[in-house]
């Protein structure tokens, strides 16, 4: 055991005992909460001024928000449906939120025109989707069974939404709406675009097949050069012209195809980044083992390349999830469109802020969860690089 400073101080340099000294503490102003405040908020005159101004702005905004969203808010209005009386909301317009809108319309915003008594079905679909995402995010489930789980889950979702079997009432696709549409468009969009994007990314790296490479380059650059809206317009007004007479595909499926084609081009560039980042030695070693092209790609290249690009892949997924809201423009009832439609009745006109805040919260939960997940994964993959 080493002697404590107090003990070692009892014998001075000349061998004479000196009076024991209290261990000296750092100045009060540089440790603890006070020290933290001084270092991080009031380190200089400029910093102090910035802190004070920001604190004033934040506090006044927060107070305003609380008085608008809680204190002056209207939580309930008399009447329902067409007989609703929103005069209480109109009276506090600008000073208080009208949360009564959400109370009245949340079923419509979440599930659209789906038959009211059957809305447990889309609700269950949402739960299955969320469970599917959670399971897929856990690394311990990253094995071959995951694909089967996905197929089973998507089948169950199809059965629940359409019905017509197992005593479930048939619900035609025109009546679907709200959150399930957003989840279906983004999940199927990503699930189908991902394999396509791998093929395109591999094709773009085929130097020995110039024709295939050119095809892939043109596809990627063309799609990435135009906005998603133009593809959706194409799906909604041009696609019917492409098909032989009598053959008709419904609007949701057409939009889905447009989203898949769009997502695949962006994902392909991410995957290509991973393929390029893989050291050349991996390709050469696989060749040296005598593996065929598809063996090399499937067993050596893709498992490593995809692992490298998981964080940007998740970021692209988030982008696609947000971009599905664009189907509003061609008139598909996704979550954003139901929110926009919920305030179309004269009684509720002008309460758009409340409806949009409600769906913002839903979008935010999904996107924030995904982005946190991607950040955590990135930190984990980069752990070996950190000092």
């Amino acid at each position: 055991m080493t002697s404590s400073p107090a003990q070692s101080a009892t014998i001075g340099a000349n061998g004479m005992p000196v009076p024991a000294e209290e261990p000296r503490r750092p100045p009060v102003l540089s440790v603890g909460p006070l020290g933290w405040l001084r270092a991080n908020l009031f380190s200089s005159w400029l910093n102090t001024a910035v802190t004070l101004v920001l604190a004033y702005v934040v506090i006044s905004w927060a107070l305003g928000l609380i008085s608008w969203g809680v204190i002056n808010a209207v939580w309930d209005v008399p009447g329902t449906g067409a007989q609703v009386d929103t005069s209480a909301c109109r009276a506090v317009r600008g000073e208080g939120a009208c949360w009564a809108l959400i109370g009245e319309k949340y079923r419509f915003i979440l599930f659209g025109l789906y038959p009211f008594d059957e809305q447990w079905r889309p609700a269950l679909v949402v739960v299955i989707f969320v469970a599917l995402y959670v399971v897929s995010a856990m690394r311990r489930f990253w094995n071959r069974w995951l694909g089967l789980v996905w197929m089973a889950a998507l089948t169950v979702i199809g059965v629940l939404m359409w019905g017509g079997v197992f005593g479930l009432r048939f619900v035609e696709q025109e009546r679907w709406g709200g959150l399930p549409i957003t989840l279906i468009l983004s999940t199927f969009g990503i699930a189908l675009a991902f394999p396509l994007s791998i093929l395109v990314a591999l094709g773009r790296r085929q130097t020995s097949m110039p024709a295939v490479k050119a095809l892939c380059v043109v596809y990627i650059e063309l799609i990435r050069g135009v906005p998603l809206i133009s593809l959706l317009f194409m799906a909604s007004v041009m696609f019917p012209l492409f098909l032989p007479e009598g053959m008709n595909i419904d609007k949701l499926l057409r939009a889905q195809v447009a989203i898949i084609l769009f997502a695949a081009a962006y994902l392909a560039e991410v995957v290509r980044g991973g393929l390029q980042a893989l050291p050349k030695g991996q390709y050469e070693a696989a060749d040296a083992l005598g593996l065929s092209y598809w063996q090399k790609t499937g067993f050596i290249v893709l498992p490593q390349a995809l692992r490298l690009v998981i964080p940007p892949l998740v970021n692209t997924f988030i982008g696609m999830f947000k971009d599905t809201s664009l189907v509003l423009i061609i008139g598909i009832f996704d979550l954003l469109n139901t929110a926009k439609t919920s305030i179309i009745e004269p009684a509720w006109q002008g309460f758009g802020i409340e409806a949009y805040l409600f769906v913002s919260a839903i979008y935010f939960v999904f996107c924030f969860a995904m982005s946190k997940y991607s950040q955590d994964l990135e930190a984990e993959f980069n752990r070996h690089r950190r000092r």
């Binding site: 910035v50 097949m209 133009s230």
Partner: protein, 401 residues
């Protein structure tokens, strides 16, 4: 051939000839066959789609071609940067749309670059409150769909009171559901001339700065730039303006009846679109800037500090020029995104190229031509931005020997 050459094992075997063998084992043959199969498949699908389209167009009696562009549009456009009436042709209406797209894209790119850089730096600030607020801003705005944000801002604009109860924050600036009204000088030729003089002044200053730099390289002394700059940037335009009679009348908005007269207007559609685009893109740019600054080695900060530079100078003179090399490539894709995202204008009724082309194709039934025009316009803009940014990137790239 000499005897010892044959004994050398290197000459014992002839190198395999790289000729073409008609065998499935020859990779060249295989790749040619595969390419022919794939091209054939794609070609077949394209042919099938085109032939279907032709038949459908025939059945529906839709004429193809761009002849409709010369017809009268009859479509009103609320804000046009060039003179336009509904009696003009479709071609001119589309041109107005392209200019509207470019207007929002250019202003959006400039503003979001400034805001994004500030937020990105703020997120790294020593001030805890500032850094946290910047982080909350970025996380919140990045995780909400842009279209939702646009609709939100538009709803907020429409929630403003009518012109008669317009909010008047200061001076004669009025906020109402008709847009933002603010005073503006009555435009006269003298102002245009002064503006041109300013542009000439900027060009001259840049040239002068280059010459001075060359002189510094050659002689080691640098002449003072700022008196020249002041004269060229302020003096020249002012002189032109004074020579042309120095006209200056302020055109302030005044409430007459149910609406404002005079002044300049920012329509609610344009304001909502610009606000949404700038706030959304700035969140992404902030992250790019932050990553770029973090990518500069800590030693650079320390070395700059050892030279006695203040933190602001360290950032401006040492860190940002180095961070720029990391920042530019992802920034390019954000500029492309803002241009493409401006197409969401159609959802809130700002008449950009997508909105006008969409109305055109609904009025004329020329779906294919309308969408081809939209795509061609965006491809052209995207390619131009890419080319410019690649040139800029090459210019600021590390000059290595």
């Amino acid at each position: 051939m000499p005897q010892d050459a044959i004994a050398d094992p290197r000459y014992a075997r002839a190198a395999p000839r790289r000729g073409l063998r008609l065998s499935w084992r020859d990779p060249t043959v295989r790749s040619i066959v595969w390419q022919m199969v794939i091209i054939g498949l794609v070609g077949f699908v394209v042919w099938w789609l085109v032939s279907n389209t032709m038949r459908n167009l025939e059945v529906r009696r839709i004429a193809t071609g761009f002849g409709f562009l010369n017809r009268e549009a009859g479509l009103p456009i609320a804000e046009a940067m060039i003179p336009y009436t509904p009696a003009d042709t479709y071609a001119r209406a589309l041109l107005v749309g392209i200019l509207n797209t470019l207007r929002v894209a250019v202003i959006g790119i400039v503003l979001s670059t400034i805001l994004g850089t500030l937020v990105g730096i703020a997120r790294l600030a020593q001030n805890w409150l500032l850094a946290k607020l910047a982080a909350i801003y970025v996380e919140l705005l990045r995780d909400l769909p842009l279209l939702l944000q646009l609709l939100f801002w538009y709803a907020l604009m429409q929630g403003l009171p009518g012109p008669r109860q317009a909010v008047n924050p200061f001076g004669s600036v009025f906020l109402s559901n008709r847009g933002i009204k603010f005073p503006w000088i009555a435009w006269e030729p003298a102002h245009t001339a002064a503006l041109l003089a300013l542009l000439a002044g900027i060009a001259a200053t840049v040239l002068l700065a280059r010459r001075f730099t060359a002189q510094q390289m050659a002689t080691g002394t640098r002449p003072k730039l700022w008196p020249w700059g002041l004269a060229l940037l302020v003096g020249l335009p002012a002189a032109v303006w004074v020579v042309m009679g120095a006209p200056f009348t302020i055109d302030a908005p005044v409430l007459r009846g149910f609406n404002f007269q005079g002044g300049a207007t920012i329509t609610p559609e344009f304001a909502a679109l610009l606000l949404g685009l700038v706030l959304y893109t700035a969140a992404f740019i902030a992250e790019i800037v932050r990553a770029g600054i973090l990518a500069v080695h800590t030693g650079q900060w320390e070395a700059a500090g050892a030279l006695g530079l203040s933190r602001g100078e360290q950032l401006r003179l040492i860190i940002l020029p180095q961070a720029l090399r990391v920042i530019i490539p992802p920034m390019t894709s954000q500029y492309l995104n803002i241009t493409k995202n401006s197409s969401l204008a159609v959802a809130i009724g700002y008449q950009d190229i997508v909105s006008i082309a969409n109305t055109t194709l609904n009025q004329t039934g020329q779906a294919i031509e309308g969408i081809a025009i939209i795509m061609a316009v965006y491809l052209t803009i995207s390619l131009s931005i890419s080319l410019f940014m690649n040139w800029y990137n090459a210019k600021i790239a590390l000059k290595e020997r």
